[in-house]
């Protein structure tokens, strides 16, 4: 897999753009002792300026669109955008709702999709690993 090339811990900023909190609870579940993502150095941070990965949940409501654009712009390069849940991926039951401008890839470029309503923690961890590999591919200076 070559994942040991990444010398730094992977820090993730989580943004909820109108999710029902189902996906958010599963993201927190991935950090609990049962799955314990933090043992790999993967942790949630409070600011996109510290993050390598922008993790987005929710179908992007009209109010959240400028916030999503701004937070994406504030995340330092190289970055990976990861969408967790069906809502952010394709709108799910809110598809074509009057108050939505999403899904997420209509607003910002997305690198990794994790399907499910909500996805299980195992699926989220698999998505994080894919994001990590993608980040290694776009960040050769960090793998030296």
């Amino acid at each position: 897999m070559g994942i040991n090339q990444f010398k730094r811990a992977l820090w993730v900023y989580h943004l909820n753009t109108g999710s029902c909190n189902g996906c958010d609870i599963e993201i927190v579940a991935a950090l609990t002792p049962r799955y314990d993502l933090e043992r790999f150095g993967i942790k949630l941070v409070g600011s996109p300026r510290h993050a390598d990965v922008l993790l987005v949940t929710g179908p992007v409501t009209r109010q959240m669109e400028p916030r999503l654009r701004r937070i994406y712009a504030q995340t330092p390069d190289p970055k990976v955008v990861m969408v967790v849940g069906n809502c952010g991926t394709e709108g799910d039951v809110f598809h074509e709702s009057y108050n939505l401008v999403g899904p997420v890839d209509q607003i910002v470029p997305v690198d990794v999709y994790v399907h499910g309503c909500p996805p299980r923690p195992e699926a989220i961890i698999d998505g994080v690993v894919k994001a990590w590999l993608k980040l290694e591919g776009v960040a050769p200076e960090r793998t030296a």
Binding site: P48, R49, H50, L68, R70, Q74, T75, D77
Partner: protein, 112 residues
């Protein structure tokens, strides 16, 4: 028996400690993320996705609640309110100016 030159509250020790802490803070700051692109959103303040307001608009207004107070004492409040711009730089200028004034007064009185 003469008093020791460097006691715990000696001003020289405070200055030395300040310089050491400043150097350590500068070195710690230099270890941070350096790949931010200047002049873009990446160097702006993060306010949970909100746009950064103007420097003078970052305080809570309370004009309605204290209208009577302001009206009765507007001759006093007028200049004071104008001085409170909400911009930190202005307050620092006030502080440095007053410290310099007090220093000159103490020096003139022979207490410094």
């Amino acid at each position: 028996m003469s008093a020791p030159i460097l006691t715990f509250w000696a001003p020289l020790l405070v200055v030395i400690a300040f310089v050491i802490v400043t150097i350590l803070a500068y070195l710690y700051r230099n270890r941070g993320e350096s790949s931010y692109k200047e002049g873009t959103e990446q160097t702006k303040v993060f306010l949970s996705g909100e746009d950064e307001p103007e420097a003078g608009m970052r305080h809570v207004r309370a004009h309605n609640m204290y209208w009577g107070f302001f009206e009765a004492m507007k001759r006093y409040y007028g200049p004071v309110v104008r001085a409170h711009t909400g911009i930190v730089n202005d307050y620092l200028i006030w502080m440095f100016g007053l410290v310099a004034l007090i220093g000159v007064a103490l020096f003139a009185a022979g207490l410094f």
